[in-house]
C-alpha cells in the first residue's frame, strides 16, 4: 500500500506541526503552530533537545498573558506582515496596564522572545518617562523605604535632574 503513507504525507504537510502550550497557573491550553511557538528560544531549545512532549507546560505565566505572547508570535511569524503592520500590532499588544506589562515582560524574559521583551520594556519605560519619582513609586506600587534624610541625600547628589520636579 504505497498510497497510504503518501496520503499521510500530503495531509500533514499543509497542516503543519502544532504544539500545545499550557499555562500552569490556570491550566489553560493553547494549540499553536510549531513555527509560531519556536520564536521563543526557550521553547525552541526544548524542542531541539527533544524535551518537549505533546503539551509544553509553561510555569508562572497565566493564560491571559500567554494569549498575548502567542498573539505576538503569530503576528511576527506571518511572513507577509509589513513593518508597519507589526508596529501597530505590537502597540496594540502592549497597550495594557502596568501590572499586565510587568507580567508580560516576565513572560517574554522566561520564554526568551527578544522582540517582545524589547517592546514591552520600552512601553514600561515610556510609562514612567518624564515623571517625578513620587509618581514612579505610585505607578509601580513601590513603597518608599528611605528615611527623609536618606532620600534628601540621594536626591542632593544629582539635584540637576530634579529641576522642575517636585
Amino acid at each position: 500500500m504505497a498510497s497510504a503513507p503518501e496520503n499521510e504525507k500530503n495531509a500533514s504537510a499543509p497542516e503543519k506541526k502544532t504544539l500545545t502550550l499550557k499555562s500552569m497557573i490556570n491550566n489553560e491550553e493553547f494549540v499553536v503552530d510549531e513555527h509560531v511557538a519556536l520564536q521563543s528560544v526557550t521553547i525552541k531549545n526544548m524542542v531541539d533537545s527533544d524535551c518537549a512532549g505533546d503539551v509544553i507546560p509553561v510555569p508562572t505565566i497565566s493564560g491571559e498573558i500567554l494569549a498575548l505572547v502567542i498573539e505576538y508570535c503569530k503576528n511576527h511569524a506571518n511572513p507577509s506582515a509589513s513593518e508597519d503592520d507589526l508596529k501597530k500590532a505590537d502597540a496594540g499588544i502592549v497597550a495594557k496596564d502596568i501590572y499586565t506589562l510587568i507580567d508580560l515582560v516576565l513572560a517574554a524574559n522566561f520564554l526568551d522572545i527578544k522582540g517582545l521583551l524589547e517592546v514591552t520594556s520600552q512601553k514600561i519605560a515610556d510609562s514612567i518617562k518624564d515623571l517625578p519619582h513620587q509618581d514612579v513609586r505610585e505607578i509601580f506600587g513601590v513603597e518608599n523605604d528611605y528615611t527623609p534624610e536618606e532620600e534628601a541625600a540621594v536626591r542632593a547628589e544629582h539635584d540637576w535632574a530634579f529641576e522642575g520636579f517636585p
Binding site: 501590572y99 510587568i102 507580567d103 515582560v105 516576565l106 524574559n109 521583551l117 524589547e118 520594556s121 520600552q122 514600561i124 519605560a125 515610556d126 514612567i128 518617562k129 518624564d130 515623571l131 517625578p132 519619582h133 514612579v136 513609586r137 509601580f140 506600587g141 513601590v142 513603597e143 518608599n144 523605604d145 528611605y146 536618606e150 532620600e151 540621594v154 536626591r155 547628589e157 544629582h158 539635584d159 540637576w160 535632574a161 530634579f162 529641576e163 522642575g164 520636579f165
Partner: protein, 297 residues
C-alpha cells in the same frame, strides 16, 4: 511591604527597561526606593549604559551640566602668531583647594602657580599661537594644545613634555580627564563649521597618529546644533562612579531660542566663566537628544 510586581523582574530585565530612559529620569528614579537606587547604581547597569554600542568607550548621555568643579585653566590666545605675546596661565578655583602645585625643582621644570607665566616653559616658543586650553581638576597637571603641538606638564614628574600634534584644525576647548584628552576641531569649510570630537591619551600623544575622531550615531548632529560647542569637564565620581568622570558639551553661550522649539534651553546663561553656573544650571526638559555627558567605563 506588599511586594510590587516590579520586584519580581530579573535584574537584566530591569536594566533593559531603565536603560531605555533618559539619564535625568534614571537619576530621578534612584530616589524611588533603595532597591531602585541599588539597581540603577550597580556596576552592571552602568556598564550597560556605557557599553551600548561597543567602543569607542565614550558615550553621549546628557548635557545636564553639574556645577563646575574647581578648575585650573591654561588660557593662551596670543593675538599675533608672528610676534607672540606671552600667553598667560590662569588658574581658577571655585573650591577651597588651591591649585598651586608643589614647588618643582630642576632646570626644566617651571612651576605653574597662579600668577606664573607660561613663558618659563621651555617649549612655548615652538607652539606659536596657542589657541587652546585645558581644564584639569588636578591642580598639578596642565596641557596646552594647538593644532601642531601639545605641551604637557605633570606635577608627578615635574617637567614639561612637548609632543607634536596633528589635529585638523585649531582645537577648541580641550579637556583633560584622567589621561584622556578630548578636544573639538572644526573639520568643515571656512564657510561652514563642522565640529568633531577628537580624543587621545597622554601616553599615545607620543605616537605619530595620536588623535582619533569620535563619532557616534546617537550623538546626532549635536555639534552642529550648538554652533560653537565647548567641552566642559563635569565633576568626576558623581553621576557615574564607575566611569570616574563626566564631560559636558555646552554651546558657546548656552542660549537657544526657546520660543519655537521644545529643545529651548531658555535664557539661562551658562556661558562665559564657570562662576555663574554655580549649582543651579538648568536641566533642560526635552533636550535629551542634544544632551551630552561622556563617561568612560
Amino acid at each position: 511591604m506588599d511586594a510590587s510586581p516590579i520586584y519580581r523582574l530579573p535584574q537584566d530585565t530591569l536594566h533593559q527597561i531603565f536603560s531605555a530612559l533618559p539619564l535625568s529620569q534614571i537619576v530621578r528614579c534612584r530616589s524611588v526606593c533603595k532597591f531602585f537606587n541599588h539597581t540603577l547604581t550597580s556596576p552592571s547597569f552602568l556598564h550597560l549604559l556605557s557599553a551600548q554600542p561597543p567602543p569607542p568607550p565614550l558615550r553621549l548621555l546628557s548635557l545636564c551640566p553639574p556645577s563646575p568643579p574647581p578648575t585650573t585653566t591654561i588660557v593662551g590666545p596670543t593675538p599675533n602668531p608672528i610676534a607672540p605675546s606671552t600667553p598667560s596661565i590662569q588658574t581658577k578655583t571655585n573650591g577651597s583647594d588651591s591649585p598651586s602645585p608643589s614647588s618643582p625643582s630642576g632646570p626644566h621644570t617651571p612651576s605653574p602657580p597662579p600668577s606664573d607665566s607660561i613663558e618659563s616653559c621651555p617649549s612655548s616658543a615652538q607652539l606659536g599661537r596657542v589657541t587652546a586650553r585645558s581644564w584639569s581638576a588636578r591642580p598639578t597637571e596642565f596641557l596646552v594644545l594647538s593644532e601642531l603641538a601639545a605641551l604637557y606638564f605633570s606635577g608627578s614628574t615635574n617637567n614639561w613634555v612637548n609632543f607634536s600634534s596633528n589635529l585638523p584644525s585649531k582645537p577648541r576647548s580641550p579637556i583633560l580627564v584622567s589621561d584622556l584628552v578630548l578636544a573639538l576641531c572644526d573639520v568643515g569649510s571656512p564657510w561652514r563649521s563642522q565640529w568633531k570630537l577628537f580624543s587621545c591619551t597622554i601616553s599615545t600623544l607620543q605616537s605619530s597618529q595620536p588623535w582619533s575622531r569620535l563619532e557616534k550615531h546617537e550623538w546626532g548632529d549635536v555639534f552642529d546644533i550648538l554652533k560653537r560647542p565647548r567641552l566642559v569637564k563635569g565633576i568626576g565620581n558623581r553621576v557615574f562612579d564607575d566611569w570616574g568622570f563626566e564631560v559636558v558639551v555646552l554651546p558657546e553661550r548656552f542660549m537657544f531660542d526657546d520660543s519655537d522649539s521644545e529643545a529651548g534651553l531658555g535664557d539661562h546663561g551658562v556661558g562665559g566663566g564657570g562662576a555663574d553656573a554655580a549649582g543651579d544650571v538648568p536641566v533642560l526638559p526635552g533636550v535629551e537628544q542634544v544632551q551630552g555627558v561622556w563617561g568612560r567605563e
